[in-house]
């Protein structure tokens, strides 16, 4: 109540008065603190609870402490109202750390949520549970993550990937277990999971590069369809990976550079090293062939340069900069220049990176020179970075335009920027010999500028330039000597004095006079100027002691009593050196050498030089210092590690290849990819081709065995027909699901998209309506083994209509389903029009309630109705589940006794090896293989689609073609039927 009254009050007061009032009444607040909120939270009304939660969240947002409400809030964690629930989650995650004991009260709610049939609820429960930073629940979290990692839903698996770094930061000791989960999730083939799991990989075990090998090609191919943030993480990781696995594509070029350098610095006496170098060069001289995987990465990242997300573009740009052959790096320039149109913060980061790139690869950005011209509206930090880039880009051909541009900058009102421009001119002058005189003249003109800052900066720059060739410029030195009367900026005065002292021989008449003037003003000068006066005095004393002896003495005496001890020190030191006394040591003999030694001209270098040892685009690069968690970009290896580590296992490929031949639909992705890669490796004669071609062989072997009974011609015909069907169907799928087509931006990868979860196996077509009964309309169906997305409890049935009549069929739809109790049907959308001779494929969902009863319904066209029924083989009533060997054994242990059915059988003639068994079983039932240590045993796991009961199958082979089949399943009917089906399949 108090709050309400206060609120009304405050609304009528102006802000300032409000503040005062708040101060006065804050004490009152303290007494009644949050009592009303507690009351509201305890009430029965959701609206009051919501109001209270909203106010609490608003307080959290302002940074107010509301931890005393914890018990009252947490009570509502199971509230029905979804918004209240969400706000409670927000609160819980914020304060759980401070109130560990009370937070535990909420855990059971989430544990229940983890078992929910709805994937989104499972995901959100895991998300909140893993965000609660309470160490006691680490084992619960670990268990939840492990379970979620093998969840059917990719969204839940994604959440599991997100939870991994959370748990890792809470308890780093779980690292080993978490790496196992990461390994499992890395093998996931959905785009949803890829980005998140790589992020987890980067945070938990970025050095375990070996986990990437098997997934490298998949990641490359999935990349274009991963969400943008995931793309950034994956690209950065792959850059590092590629640096460890492939050879430097610019190796020949760098060799050239190396050899020229060597010739220059070659030392004759170190013959051994020379020999070694030669040997190394010989090895290197072997023509460079790019690994096809390296090429794959470059090719698949290139389209992402067109991304709207600056971070993605930058990630690709750095990948190309670090990995691409020199000739190809150029393509990133355009995209980076485009980013310069973006917000100034983006510009700032991009320019920093461009500055580094321009040092190493100047040519790349030269065509875009004008894009770096400075606008008066740019913020100063952007201006200075652009200036840096322009300076780096300057060369003999464009220097005149650049200098003209710089001249306009000097007239800008932004003084910091003017100073930077003058320095930039100085750098251009040192880098490009041809324009040195022009620049110098221009700078000297600036000395008569009215702005002192401009003059001072010019003096400093001129000093540096003159040091390079002082002989020709004694008139400039004279001119500068005159300036000493006017210029007040200490740095500039010091520079002039240093110049005169250094080149006093070029201005023998003026120098002593300058010293005279300076001696007069010595006491009023700044410290750096004083030091230079002493310097000048010392140098003059050494070269022209006749004229300056007294002056020097005078200056040194003044310095002796200076307030600054540096100056007193310097004076003492110099006096000892230059004025010979009997006590002075051996050093004074060398005084002249010490003071008037030829000093090397300063090198005006870009501050961005050598920054490229940091991975571009990284925070560390921007700061030029290693940030925590930065992973070094490794040097290229001397010789490439074995490329075959990236080959996907042969077993898979055999199985998958068969799918291509027999399974018309859902032609596995792996095969296309494998064949492609095999070709690539073969043509490139890489060492990896062996295993790939081996897979080819074994694949074709199994194929010939399969079709052995058929005559050659028949087989050909069939193949052709199937090929046609496949094509048609593919076309149709595209038309039907345009959504999926978007995935098609990368050709190979589409195939990945089609099916990711179901293990590959042949798909059998069943007839629903013969074309004679259907009066020209032929209908076939198959169990596509895809998860049916609108309802996960349904089996997806793919139906293909072929119109063989002479007229169009219209309004194809389903009517009057007659179903057993509990069974449900999700009909396909009505097909409006089907032209003659065309086929259309649609997908419908049926919940068979885990029984093999047929689903009956009517198939209607605009003219006719047909009674049809779909009866599922028992093997289609389940979906695969991924289990580890341990999990499998654990689950099997729970399903003993009545739930276990075991049969002995004799394997058919063709079931000679494990592969065939796996193939046969997966063809019969939609199960997935469980990894197993022994080669005598094959294990499979799945769960029924409708009720989610586990189905575990074990086939143990024995001597002489005998085998034992065991099925563990809660539903005995299903178990029995499955045993029958599998036995039949295996004994054929």
């Amino acid at each position: 109540m108090i709050h309400l009254i206060m609120d009304t009050f405050l609304r009528y007061l102006k802000e300032r008065e409000q503040e005062q009032l708040v101060k006065i009444l804050s004490f009152m607040f303290y007494i009644f603190r949050h009592d009303d909120l507690k009351e509201m939270l305890d009430s029965n009304k959701d609206s009051l609870k919501l109001e209270a939660m909203k106010r609490i969240v608003a307080m959290i947002a302002r940074g107010k402490n509301t931890s005393d409400l914890f018990p009252a809030v947490v009570k509502n964690v199971a509230c029905k109202n979804i918004e209240v629930k969400k706000l409670v989650y927000v609160y819980l995650v914020r304060y759980a750390e401070e109130q560990q004991d009370l937070a535990l009260l909420s855990i059971s709610t989430f544990q229940r949520g983890l078992k929910d049939p709805n994937q989104l609820i499972r995901a959100s429960a895991l998300r909140v549970l893993s965000s609660i930073r309470v160490t006691i629940i680490v084992p619960i979290m670990m268990l939840a993550i492990k379970e979620a990692a093998s969840d059917m839903s990719p969204y839940v698996r994604k959440t599991a990937a997100h939870a991994i770094p959370k748990l890792h930061s809470l308890d780093p000791e779980q690292k080993d277990q978490l790496i196992e989960v990461i390994e499992k999730l890395l093998a996931d083939k959905t785009t949803l999971v890829a980005g998140s799991v790589v992020m987890a990989f980067e945070e938990v075990c970025p050095d375990r590069i070996d986990l990437i090998h098997k997934n490298y090609r998949k990641l490359c191919n999935l990349l274009i369809d991963v969400e943008e943030w995931g793309q950034v993480v994956i690209i950065n990781m792959l850059t590092r990976y590629a640096r460890t696995q492939f050879l430097n594509p610019n190796i020949n070029e760098s060799l050239l550079e190396d050899s020229s350098e060597k010739a220059f610095y070659a030392s004759d006496d170190e013959e051994d090293e020379d020999k070694k170098a030669e040997a190394a060069a010989l090895v290197k001289r072997k023509p460079y062939v790019m690994d096809p995987d390296h090429r794959l990465l470059l090719r698949n990242t290139k389209p992402l340069l067109q991304s709207r997300n600056a971070a993605v573009v930058m990630a690709v740009a750095q990948l190309y900069f670090h990995l691409a052959p020199k000739a190809e790096v150029g393509i990133i320039a355009k995209a980076l220049v485009r980013l310069m149109r973006s917000h100034s913060e983006v510009q700032y980061v991009v320019l920093q990176n461009v500055a580094t790139m321009t040092i190493k690869r100047r040519g790349m950005f030269e065509p875009y020179l004008k894009s770096f011209y400075i606008r008066s509206t740019d913020p100063t930090q952007i201006k200075i970075l652009k200036l840096e880039v322009l300076t780096n880009l300057a060369n003999e051909t464009n220097i005149s335009t650049i200098l003209r541009e710089f001249q306009t900058y000097i007239k800008s009102m932004d003084k910091d920027f003017v100073a930077a421009s003058i320095q930039a001119i100085g750098r251009c002058a040192t880098n490009i010999g041809e324009v040195r005189d022009t620049c110098l003249n221009g700078l000297v003109q600036l000395l008569s500028n009215r702005d002192e800052l401009v003059v001072a900066e010019s003096v400093v720059v001129i000093k540096k330039l003159l040091q390079m060739q002082p002989e020709q410029h004694s008139d400039i030195i004279k001119h500068m000597a005159k300036l000493i009367d006017n210029i007040q900026v200490p740095m500039a005065r010091a520079s002039i004095l240093w110049l005169i002292g250094e080149y006093c021989e070029h201005v023998p008449k003026i120098a002593p006079d300058v010293l005279r003037k300076m001696a007069k003003t010595f006491t009023n000068e700044e410290d750096i100027v004083k030091l230079q006066i002493i310097n000048l005095a010392a140098k003059l004393y050494l070269t022209n002691s006749k004229q300056t002896k007294l002056l020097t003495q005078y200056v040194l005496n003044l310095a002796k009593y200076d307030q600054n001890y540096d100056i007193r020190d310097r004076a003492r030191f110099i006096r000892q050196l230059i004025v010979p006394t009997d006590k002075s040591g051996a050093l004074s003999k060398y005084a002249k050498k010490l003071f008037l030694a030829l000093k090397p001209a300063p090198v005006l270098e870009s501050p961005f030089k050598d920054r490229d040892h940091f991975q571009l685009g990284s925070l560390s690069h921007l700061l030029n210092a290693k940030a925590g968690g930065y992973q070094e970009l490794p040097e290229w290896p001397e010789s490439a590690p074995d490329p075959s580590v990236r080959n996907v296992e042969v077993k898979d490929s055999v199985c998958a290849r068969r799918t291509v031949l027999t399974g018309p639909e859902g032609a596995g992705s792996v095969p296309v990819n494998m064949i492609l890669l095999a070709h690539l490796t073969e043509s490139d004669s890489g060492s990896g081709s062996e295993s790939a071609s081996a897979s080819d062989e074994s694949g074709s072997g199994s194929e010939s065995e399969e079709s052995g009974e058929e005559t050659e011609s028949e087989k050909e015909e069939e193949d052709e027909e199937k090929e046609k069907k496949r094509k048609k169907r593919l076309d149709k799928t595209k038309a039907k699901k345009p959504a999926e087509e978007s995935a098609e931006r990368c050709a190979i990868h589409t195939s990945y998209q089609i099916n990711t979860i179901a293990p590959s196996g042949s798909i059998k077509m069943y007839e629903l309506l013969h074309r004679i009964t259907g009066e020209g309309l032929a209908v076939e169906y198959c169990f596509s083994r895809q998860p049916f997305s609108p309802d996960p409890n349904m089996v997806a049935v793919q139906i293909q209509f072929t119109n063989n009549t002479n007229s169009e069929t219209k309004n194809l739809h389903i009517e009057e389903p007659r179903l057993q109790s509990g069974m449900r049907i999700r009909e396909f959308a009505e097909i409006g029009l089907q032209p003659t001779g065309e086929s259309v494929t649609v997908v419908m969902g049926i919940d068979f309630c885990d029984s093999t009863q047929a689903a009956n319904f009517q198939l209607c066209t605009h003219t006719r109705k047909f009674f049809v029924s779909i009866q599922p083989p028992v093997g289609e009533l389940m979906t695969p589940v991924f289990l580890t060997e341990n999990d499998f054994k654990k689950e099997q242990g729970k399903l003993m006794g009545m739930n276990e059915i075991s049969e002995k059988l004799t394997l058919g003639e063709k079931c000679v090896n494990e592969h065939v068994i796996v193939e046969r079983v997966t063809a019969t039932a939609n199960l997935s293989r469980v990894p197993c240590g022994s080669d005598k045993e094959c294990r499979f796991a799945g769960k029924t689609v409708s009720s989610g009961c586990l189905v575990l199958v074990t086939v143990t082979t024995k001597e002489g073609g005998r085998a034992q089949l065991t099925v563990n399943c809660e539903k005995m009917v299903i178990g029995t039927m499955l045993v029958k089906d599998i036995m039949q399949a295996l004994s054929q």
């Binding site: 969240v57 706000l87 927000v90 011209y373 009102m413 925070l619 959504a739």
Partner: protein
């Protein structure tokens, strides 16, 4: 990755904080305030500020600093891009992104931030998904909510996150099916004192407002796609199709979105639609200066140049300006020395001009800085590059949508370097 977020207003108050991992004390912002003090202009604060234990990455939008706190290596652009996405989302939800709007909707803001990041890693940033999760507040809904006690949080679970087209929500229904496309081009140019162009580039965007039922699949083709030199797409556009056929093929998100941004290469000659004649001079010794400025249209293909706004930063020595515009109004701020002249529409028969005198500080020497003239303008129904949309087709749905295309050209960064000609003559 991103640990915490602080929102700081122009007067340096932290008015919102959100933590995704352990709480980071707001005292970490002191380092930011230090940097803010050091910077002369608000936009000169370095985007990345290292502190002993954290790194602060900030962006400035709508006079609010969005300061993200991070603890370890992360690509800075990743954070910057995300922060901008946050601002865009707020703008999308509340119409404006101001301190007041954020404070009024603090709960929605918090819910949004909660959904956008999980443990500091972006989770849902697509506006279509977010809108399914959390409905944007409208006046009507606020009223209804207060009466019925219903909520802004979507009752249904977001299916978009699971689909293959995460940018489009499912089950979209409209009675009027419409698709509008705006082609907006901006010219960036620097023109020197003699009127010749130093650089000129055209940057364009195609913004779309698509309200179509179901899952439409659109293709958009241009008459002259070769003009487009460099493009960046919304993730919905199929890149392959563009590469092969130069056709934009996509399933659009629902509502407003930016389909494409492009750049017209500088190799093509850019037609500059306006010209400026100016004469700004100061006489040595006198405290008066003359100011003359005339604008005129050029190469506008017969379209009117509208909403013209001229601004110029006069030299610091100028005390006041007494000018006489032939049309529109002008203001001169004696403190910032910023002259701005709101011209309005340019009438080619009677060119707008601004003439008069400037008074200088007595005794001050004549200024030698270059005032630059920035010009803003708009031309309706014209894409200055000549880009034209050829046709828009829809597949996948049966109804006939209403289609519309609008063109517009405006000045991006249009800058006229006007050097003090007369002074140079006098001095020479």
């Amino acid at each position: 990755m991103i640990h915490s977020l602080f929102l700081i207003n122009a007067s340096g108050d932290i008015f919102l904080e959100k933590h995704w991992k352990s709480v980071v004390s707001r005292s970490v912002c002191d380092y930011f305030f230090e940097a803010l003090e050091r910077a002369t202009e608000p936009e000169n604060v370095p985007p990345v500020i290292p502190t002993p234990h954290h790194f602060l990455i900030n962006v400035l939008r709508h006079r609010i600093y969005f300061v993200a706190v991070i603890q370890s290596e992360v690509p800075p652009l990743f954070v910057i891009e995300f922060l901008h996405r946050v601002v865009d989302t707020f703008q999308d939800y509340f119409g404006v992104c101001t301190e007041a709007a954020i404070k009024d909707n603090v709960v929605v803001v918090y819910e949004l931030l909660e959904e956008m990041l999980d443990n500091g890693f972006p989770l849902a940033t697509e506006s279509n998904i977010l809108k399914e999760l959390i409905k944007p507040p409208t006046i009507l809904r606020t009223v209804v909510n207060t009466i019925t006690g219903s909520t802004n949080v979507g009752e249904q679970l977001p299916t978009g996150q699971l689909s293959v087209v995460p940018w489009r929500r499912t089950g979209v229904k409209y009675t009027n099916n419409e698709a509008y496309f705006d082609v907006v081009e901006e010219i960036d140019a620097i023109i020197d004192k003699s009127g010749s162009t130093i650089t000129a580039e055209i940057q364009g965007v195609v913004d779309a407002c698509v309200k179509l039922t179901g899952m439409p699949d659109l293709t958009l083709s241009f008459m002259n796609p070769r003009l487009l030199d460099d493009v960046s797409f919304h993730p919905c556009v199929r890149f392959k199709r563009w590469e092969a056929e130069r056709i934009l093929s996509f399933i659009p998100p629902d509502g407003n979105f930016r389909l494409l941004s492009y750049h017209v290469s500088s190799q093509n000659l850019v037609a500059i639609p306006v010209y400026v004649k100016h004469n700004i001079s100061f006489r040595e010794g006198s405290s008066q200066g003359r100011f003359e400025l005339t604008l005129g249209p050029k190469q506008t293909m017969g379209k009117a140049v509208e909403s013209v706004l001229v601004s110029s930063q006069l030299p610091r020595g100028v005390l006041n300006a007494n000018l006489n515009p032939s049309q529109g109004t002008y203001t001169f701020d004696p403190v910032t020395k910023l002259l701005s002249w709101d011209v309005g529409k340019i009438n080619p028969q009677k060119l707008p001009s601004l003439k008069g005198s400037m008074s200088l500080q007595t005794g001050a020497s004549k200024p030698d800085e270059n005032p630059t003239i920035n010009i803003q303008f708009k031309i309706q129904q014209l894409a200055i590059s000549g880009l034209k949309v050829n046709r828009l087709d829809m597949y996948g749905e049966k109804y006939k949508p209403f289609k519309g295309i609008k063109y517009m050209t405006k000045a991006g960064k249009f800058q006229n370097d006007c050097h003090l000609l007369v002074i140079q003559k006098l001095a020479g």
